[in-house]
Symmetry: C2
Subunit: 205 residues, 2 copies
């Protein structure tokens, strides 16, 4: 598919056909593209836990939701996703990489980093998954794990404590869903977010 | 260009033809795609300061480098970039968005966020810029501002203190450059980063 079409067609999809799993070759392409995300110092401090069977996905949902509450419409849609990819970042891999002689930050001080590139780079990998899903005529969603469930998810999936859970990509074939009410906020167009030369100076293209 | 080709062709380019500016229509497409990045709650808490004239770019480089030191080979290449886009995130936009009734985090507590999605989402926008550059047969680089220069850059470009400087995208037409020595580390392939069902279980596709 044309790149510009993929970018324009991508949107977060919150319901999937539960009877159509993600073919292995599609999952493979999704992951092959994810590992082409850029990363600071080529640290590549990311891991992706792929949940496909009913049991694997149930373990995730049990760890993130309250079984006493009936699922809301958001959850009912996402529960249909045949594949979840839990995207983890590894801050230690970056601190180790930048302690090497060519970088020289031997104190491994996270305060040297203007933003946490481990999370940013893993987010870029997640975006490549979402775009690849569109290119393969599937759909995806990226969503975060609630802070109060992070430890439960780590435990359920055996994820080491030193990993950050950056978010989860759900993948599948689209089913009808409700557009996110957030979209009614409207897109901030280029004129609103781009500045020429100095913050606050309109960019005229 | 085919999406899969764009993903495969993208790499960080550290030298540019100084005599070929980025055409306005290309810059426009780069920014149009950037604002199609996803964002938590459609917060879109990002701003992009575009530096194109010699004076604008010099202001940035003066704020980030030591005039007493001769430029190293990295800097000599990047100084040729005809266009720099300083990518800023706005944490307050996310805290405001999630204080609205449909989200309900009225305490505006940043501790509710598992990772700083303001930085992650702005990073996704930067990746869309880099990919769009490839699609337009230009090249780009994403690099961070050193922590000790963040305030100087904010001051030089009039960027409010409440914005994070997530990184800078340089854009231009490629000139010969040296591959990053980091690449000799080798890519972590899918088999090394993907886990099936549980962290540590190999994924067999």
């Amino acid at each position: 598919m044309e790149f510009s079409h993929v970018v324009r067609a991508r949107r977060m999809v919150r319901n999937y056909d539960p009877d159509r799993p993600v073919p292995d070759e599609v999952l493979s392409r999704v992951l092959e593209n994810a590992v082409r995300a850029p990363s600071a110092g080529f640290s590549q401090g990311w891991d992706f836990v792929v949940l496909r069977s009913d049991e694997e996905r149930a373990a995730f949902w049990e760890a993130t939701t309250d079984p006493a509450s009936p699922p809301d419409s958001w959850l009912r849609g996402i529960l249909n996703a045949p594949c979840l990819i839990v995207c983890c970042s590894n801050p230690g891999a970056y601190l180790d990489r930048y302690a090497e002689p060519d970088k020289g930050w031997t104190d491994r001080d996270a305060g040297r980093w203007p933003v946490p590139y481990w999370d940013v780079d893993t987010g870029m990998a997640a975006l490549l998954m979402l775009l690849t899903a569109v290119d393969e005529e599937l759909a995806g969603l990226f969503f975060g794990v609630p802070v109060e469930r992070l430890d439960t998810v780590r435990e359920a999936l055996g994820i080491p404590d030193d990993r950050n859970l950056v978010g989860v990509v759900s993948l599948g074939y689209r089913a009808p869903d409700r557009k996110s009410p957030s979209l009614s906020r409207g897109r901030r167009e280029v004129e609103q977010v781009a500045h020429a030369g100095r913050f606050g100076t309109p960019l005229d293209l």
